[in-house]
Symmetry: C2
Subunit: 320 residues, 2 copies
DNA sequence: TTGAAAGCGCTAACAC
DNA sequence: GTGTTAGCGCTTTCAA
């Protein structure tokens, strides 16, 4: 705090320009000078002011990320994987939570843009109402949508083929009567899982709430009073764990009396009793691909938007 | 992008200084001018460059936060609560993961300091080896340790009284023979929970690994072959869920044959079967207090370090 | 390969 | 209350 590149340059007996070039590893600096500068920097305990560098170079080496709910282990794991991908490349992650509210999301995206993040990873919390935030960002910097997406907006996206996952699940269940317990199709996954369920010809019995364990518990109660199907197909693992908990409390045996499935394969899916049958989303792969797309865009290699859908795999456990 | 405060000032017919004052809500600007400036800014689509503002004002309105593992729902919830606290105050959160590695943690803290965060929330992953990172940060900016702490370092801390929690738990169990399944005391919670267990006179049977479900599963297997105690006291919920899962797989009935307890009360603690008896950490309170301490420090109100230990409460469920 | 000098866009003294 | 001006610390022309 206090020692600037001027001090380093003076100490090394070169100009600030040379010091700057040496410190940022540019070529075109004589090796002897390079060494002197590096030594001086170390000796003086020089800590570059990246804010100043950003102002001039117009790049912050920071990537913004907005998630609907960091408390959901699925998103937390995604964040962790993105962080891991960024480790090598000297970029940091500026994280924000939208709390599933498009208004909050818009403000958070704006705050990130104000901070001049180089690029944005967005998990848009709403299929339609996230468009404004996405558009605002996409107009300025490279943006990749992660997991969720905005309907009909031309921007890169990396996620999972939810419909294929749902087909796989229903094929595995091969049940006579199922009920889908999902979330109102406000986000794209809620929508495509519901679509997948319906298109697979599993029938039209659907209960829609939100992606919470509380909703799962409530829905389970309702199913109990209306008559249990052969299988309950849940929109994600969190709902399924709520369903399982309520069934356990009411003394309903799973899978003997009713089978239950989830979606995502969060770490807690396999810990319950019974362990949850679900569809695994490969978060490491999704994160790696998203970061790759972003880097390509930042490097100017790629300019068009790219959509990548990974086919998720069934994880059959005892609940279904 | 392109329109600067000079443009706004010109458009409003005032100087840049007045424009700056009006835009940042300082008093000492005539209302008429204030209105003109705001109108001009809106009209031109002015987006302030906070990087430039930061360079000059030496404040970034950004708070850094380093957590050991964002994938652990306990930490994820803490992050979420901190985010919530920050919402009002126009500060953003720069998040980093240390992966429980002091080396990584040190690098992450340095990256945050390089970005000139105004303050740091640190959950030090190691009782001793996190000291270097903590000291580096504390020398430059206000720092508050959250949940975990570094031994014998004079810095603010907000967390829970782990020993009290452990006493409460053991009092509730009132068991003849217990075994503690915890983590090697590399972080302060692992240490103080172990201490609490021992000091409560619960005996000396301890199995130490790390805070993972895999360790819980392994420890459960070991207990099974060595003879079950009356109760298994786990170092946190994640371990306890692993223990529970393994017992379930091996057909051991909980709590009939053995009781199991956790620590933290993560959202998944109550979802398992049986629901987990545990100690609740009030994350919202911890986050609120930490942010308050930080704000006081940033406002210059408080200069000495402050340690706040919240007494956690027992949540008795069916597992113990 | 190097150095001098001009800003990046803003805020904060300072003068009026 | 307002304007002028001098930087914040760095990178990047532009000349040499």
């Amino acid at each position: 705090m206090g020692v600037t590149i001027h001090d380093v340059a003076a100490h090394a007996g070169v100009s600030v320009a040379t010091a700057s070039r040496a410190l940022s590893g540019q070529r075109g600096v004589r090796q002897a000078n390079r060494d002197k500068v590096v030594a001086a920097a170390r000796e003086l305990g020089y800590e570059p002011n990246v804010v100043a560098a950003s102002l001039r170079s117009r790049t912050t080496h920071t990537i913004g990320m907005v998630v609907p709910r960091i408390g959901n282990p699925f998103f937390a794991t995604l964040v962790e994987e993105v962080e891991k991908q960024l480790q090598g490349g000297n970029r940091s992650l500026l994280l924000a939570n939208s709390d599933y509210q498009p208004e909050v999301e818009r403000r958070q995206v704006q705050a990130l843009l104000d901070r001049r993040v180089d690029a944005l990873l967005l998990i848009p919390c709403h299929r339609e109402r996230s468009e404004e935030a996405l558009a605002a960002a996409a107009a300025r910097i490279p943006v990749v949508q992660l997991d969720l997406r905005v309907d009909g907006f031309d921007a890169s996206w990396v996620g999972v083929d939810n419909e294929a996952g749902m087909r796989e699940l229903l094929g595995h269940l091969d049940a006579r009567r199922t009920v889908f317990v999902g979330a109102e199709p406000t986000d794209s996954s809620a929508q495509s899982r519901l679509d997948g369920y319906r298109r697979a010809g599993a029938g039209d019995e659907v209960l829609l709430g939100d992606f919470s364990k509380e909703w799962g518990e409530k829905a389970a109660g309702r199913l109990l009073s209306e008559g249990l199907p052969e299988a309950v197909v849940c929109g994600n693992d969190v709902i399924a764990l709520g369903v399982l908990a309520e069934f356990a409390r009411r003394g309903v045996r799973v899978p003997q009396e009713v089978r239950v499935t989830g979606f995502d394969d969060i770490p807690y899916a396999e810990l319950g009793q019974p362990a949850l049958t679900t569809i695994r989303q490969p978060q490491a792969e999704i994160a790696a691909e998203a970061v790759r797309v972003l880097h390509d865009r930042l490097a100017g290699v790629e300019t068009t938007s790219r959509r990548t859908a990974i086919t998720p795999a069934l994880v059959a456990r005892s609940s279904g």
